[in-house]
């Protein structure tokens, strides 16, 4: 089990980094020379703030959406770890910890999928 968890975390971070780098190279090729300032908070553009929109942007090859997809994969990595922990507790028939892990997973899913 520990082996699987370790592999999962490594794979998650590796995949996320690869996608982020891919998007970053595309972003620099397209907008690297643009003048930027982030001193005022305007909020990231709405097509980059939900999982569905980010996937659509990635399919349309928008560099910023690709970077954002990598960041979403990274945020999803600990969530996947908790999901795997849930499986382990189900196998052990540990009811109390199945309940607690399910609760944590629901809070995480709420944040990632609906939180606003």
């Amino acid at each position: 089990m520990e082996q699987v968890v370790g592999r999962l975390l490594q794979a998650g971070v590796f995949l996320a980094t690869a996608v982020v780098l891919l998007g970053a190279v595309a972003l620099m090729a397209k907008h690297g020379g643009d003048a930027v300032a982030f001193g005022t908070f305007r909020g990231t553009a709405s097509h980059l703030t939900s999982v569905g929109a980010i996937v659509r942007g990635t399919l349309a090859r928008d560099p910023r959406a690709i970077v954002q997809l990598g960041l979403v994969l990274l945020i999803a990595t600990p969530v996947a770890r908790v999901a795997l922990t849930l499986v382990a507790f189900v196998v052990q028939r540990d009811r109390l910890y199945v309940a607690l892990t399910t609760f944590v997973l629901l809070v995480l899913s709420y944040g990632l999928l609906w939180g606003s």
């Binding site: 690297g32 020379g33 005022t40 990231t44 960041l71 944590v104 990632l112």
Partner: protein
């Protein structure tokens, strides 16, 4: 400044933040936010979003190595994550209502506390005291590897530890940090876990806690890809290198320098927060 220049400079700065964070054990997140706001004039809310992402990267990267060693107590982790994730989602919901100047002042206070804690020596404590009855009910007591083989330990102060973790979750979301200092405070000092167990279990929880608030912040527009990606890549690279050279580097003088830097950053954050310049 062009996007390319800004990204390269932020990545370089984040690399050193990650390196120092790994070498001193304080984590990179604590200096990423002051660096972005004070040095690169990035808005505090974007800085918090970017920092949270880097916290998840280093926590997951380090955890991959930790889980194989058998120190992490998964039950304690899950039990306390009930508190940290609820705290994190609450903190993220509150964040929009709190002016950035107040967040800057809070950040300064946490920086000072971190510097203070990092210079103190850790006290060893007994790990075989009679367990908190709640620890028995929740089956939190465990075993961990030592030179004498698998050694059992008991858990104290379960309810107090849980409440401190709620606070750690709120703080993590509000400031975009792992709040490892507070987590270790709860697990090492209150719950009296063996040090290796508290640090590795805390690391497990840091990633999960940060993911809870990062999800909310994604929807709120705090996660700006152009800022978050150089921070993530830089901190992760620095942390990986730091973990490699940790065995050969002397960290006591490094901790002192790092603490001094943290105090200087705290004063600047405090000044900007009070004068409303942030």
């Amino acid at each position: 400044m062009t996007l390319l220049t800004l990204s390269l400079l932020v990545a370089l700065g984040s690399f050193f933040a990650g390196l120092l964070g790994a070498l001193t054990g304080l984590g990179g997140g604590i200096v990423v936010v002051p660096m972005l706001t004070l040095l690169f004039h990035v808005n505090l809310r974007y800085a918090i979003g970017a920092s949270l992402v880097s916290v998840i990267a280093t926590s997951s990267g380090a955890a991959a190595a930790y889980v194989r060693e058998g120190y992490t107590n998964v039950r304690i982790g899950i039990f306390l994550e009930v508190a940290t994730t609820v705290g994190a989602v609450t903190g993220a919901a509150l964040s929009g209502l709190i002016p950035t100047s107040a967040l800057a002042v809070l950040f300064a206070l946490v920086l000072v506390y971190t510097a203070y804690r990092s210079l103190q020596t850790r006290e060893e404590h007994a790990i075989d005291l009679p367990a908190d009855p709640l620890a028995n009910t929740m089956r939190l007591n465990g075993t961990y590897p030592t030179k004498e083989g698998m050694t059992p330990y008991t858990v104290q102060g379960v309810a107090r530890g849980f409440v401190i973790m709620l606070g750690a979750g709120v703080l993590s979301a509000l400031l975009g940090i792992g709040s490892g200092v507070v987590k270790v405070l709860a697990m090492d000092r209150t719950m009296k876990l063996p040090f290796k167990v508290s640090t590795t279990t805390s690391n497990f929880m840091i990633g999960v806690t940060a993911a809870a608030s990062a999800g909310v912040y994604l929807h709120r527009g705090y996660i700006e890809p152009a800022i978050a990606f150089p921070v993530m890549i830089g901190v992760l690279g620095g942390a990986l290198l730091g973990a490699r050279i940790l065995a050969v580097a002397s960290t006591s003088w490094l901790r002192k320098i790092f603490s001094a830097v943290v105090v200087v950053l705290a004063i600047q954050m405090l000044y900007k927060g009070i004068t409303g310049a942030m």
